[in-house]
Symmetry: C2
Subunit: 332 residues, 2 copies
């Protein structure tokens, strides 16, 4: 067994899938004839925007929170998140009857704060410039005996996100398709680690690639360096959910072993992919949810004559922001 296998295995992901049955939406693996014709390949879109809470994050949160012993559940959970992980934890908390406290920066997209509250979470806003989110979270956890639910650097979280890859592999086989490549949006790397583990267990020749914003390409840079390094750029991007300071320890160990490589896209490529998603795919995707699609559309890998899987990871975008991004002439 390699270290990567010790962290997460196909069996872990299969167990997570059993726990998610009837709770997670079985999201479609979708073809679009215009896209296929445009690229001359067979593109299969895993549409996690249609998932419970509008992103794949529910899968990992649920799988992690199932592990909390009954006796500790009443003490609640705490999560630090500016985005979709918050909603995943809030939704899982409500379904499991576990009180959830979410530590969210005050400048997070309003729609996510409101939605976390609608799902019954207790929201603790903080100021990125003056407060340290980790100490706020630890204080809450220590005070109440609450369990911290990490966004990505956790075996159960990685296994939960891996169910995305398991479903893709199953559905592709049903369609008689075999993936040459799979593109996955990447923040801390939990989804990439889970998907690549499931995918390679089913099909060793499939290449799985992480996709990050150019200025937050910590996983790409770390893969090139052979160890964890911070991103090259200034960590600014319209893909708010993909901005992370460096890869997770566990996720990077898995990704270093499993990924074919790291790709990066510009904000302009992301916006153009978002417009394509709305206009041609008729799907609402948030900027960070279409980084992988942006990599495909801007030709970061060869798709002609190939079968390519693309995960559309999230669709939590306020109508106003959507309108802004659809209005072409306006600069980013």
């Amino acid at each position: 067994l390699t270290a990567a296998d010790d962290i997460v295995s196909l069996a872990d992901i299969e167990r997570a899938a059993v726990g998610l049955q009837d709770l997670a939406v079985r999201t479609p693996l979708l073809s679009n004839p215009v896209l296929d014709e445009m690229l001359g390949g067979r593109i299969l879109l895993k549409v996690e925007t249609l998932q419970r809470t509008g992103s794949f994050k529910f899968r990992g949160a649920w799988n992690r929170m199932l592990l909390i012993p009954q006796a500790r559940r009443a003490n609640g959970v705490v999560a630090v998140s500016a985005g979709n992980h918050a909603l995943g934890v809030a939704a899982a908390g409500r379904l499991l009857g576990i009180p959830a406290t979410i530590v969210i920066p005050i400048d997070a997209p309003r729609i996510k704060i409101d939605e976390a509250r609608r799902l019954g979470a207790d929201v603790r806003l903080y100021d990125r410039n003056t407060e340290d989110r980790e100490s706020i979270a630890n204080e809450i956890a220590d005070g109440r005996g609450a369990t911290l639910v990490p966004p990505y650097d956790d075996r159960a979280v990685i296994a939960g996100q891996g169910t995305v890859g398991l479903e893709m592999a199953q559905d592709a086989r049903q369609l008689g398709a075999a993936f040459d490549d799979v593109l996955v949006c990447c923040g801390g790397g939990g989804l990439a680690a889970g998907v690549s583990t499931a995918m390679q267990a089913w099909s060793a020749v499939t290449k799985v690639w992480s996709v990050e914003p150019e200025d937050c390409d910590d996983t790409r840079q770390s893969l090139l360096a052979g160890h964890r390094v911070p991103p090259r750029g200034n960590q600014r991007s319209i893909c708010d959910v993909l901005v992370t300071p460096q890869p997770g320890e566990l996720t990077f160990t898995v990704n270093q072993r499993r990924l074919a490589g790291g790709l990066a896209v510009t904000d302009e490529e992301v916006r153009s992919a978002l417009q394509f998603a709305v206009r041609t795919l008729r799907l609402v995707v948030e900027p960070g949810g279409c980084a992988a699609l942006a990599a495909l559309l801007s030709g970061k890998i060869e798709s002609k004559g190939r079968t390519v899987g693309v995960v559309l990871t999230g669709g939590n975008i306020a109508p106003d922001r959507l309108i802004e991004l659809l209005s072409t002439p306006k600069p980013l």
Copy 2:
């Protein structure tokens, strides 16, 4: 056999499904946890916005055009349409190598005219006020020996649209669900006739309802009158694709026998459903494509404790128009 069975049967629809295999997208039958919780029922959305050409219309057009004898195919086809039927015929024509001419009003949504051209159709624009579309189409058909492809009042077209209902029935069974009600957007009634025929063959207790804009409720009025009558209202609606002068002869014969009744929605209810689709379902739907969803959300039928199928029929909407409809304060 009743007259309705003579027009279209489950066997006709099953044959259409075989012909559409690998050409039509197998669109998902989707759940959304927020929607289910909001209404207290189990709602299954048939997402035909994800169909080839962005609406269910490809199904009927393809099934009709398959019947054209090889010797006549080179003469081409002609269709009269302001919308999605045009795209269905254009796409089927390209796949079958049949030249397609589409007679489109000059005030049709630009996106549909452009897309018909992109699909290789010859577009003949006409002025609704000064020209008669039927005589233009007949002239083209007579001159070239081209085949007219009617938008709804045709057995093969109805059978093609019926594959939507067949897939819904199959997928619901797979999910262990049984529909109490199914809501279908209705223009000329081809989709309603096809879906109700398939649905009732699988589940006789399921009630299928047509949904129309209030001022274009010709099917509802005709069902009440017991014979075909024009709509009550002024035939104006934001649901451009659902504006029809009266039900088809064949479609009404089927719908009179099969439908539980006709429902109608206001433009305001449609706009609100479209906003819900974008914000909560993360799906782009055109106004006429969410009339059935509007009926559900505005409580035209009881959904609490029931299993309700809703067809989202089309998603061909220009980004500018989408922005307009998402901008709440602006009047319709």
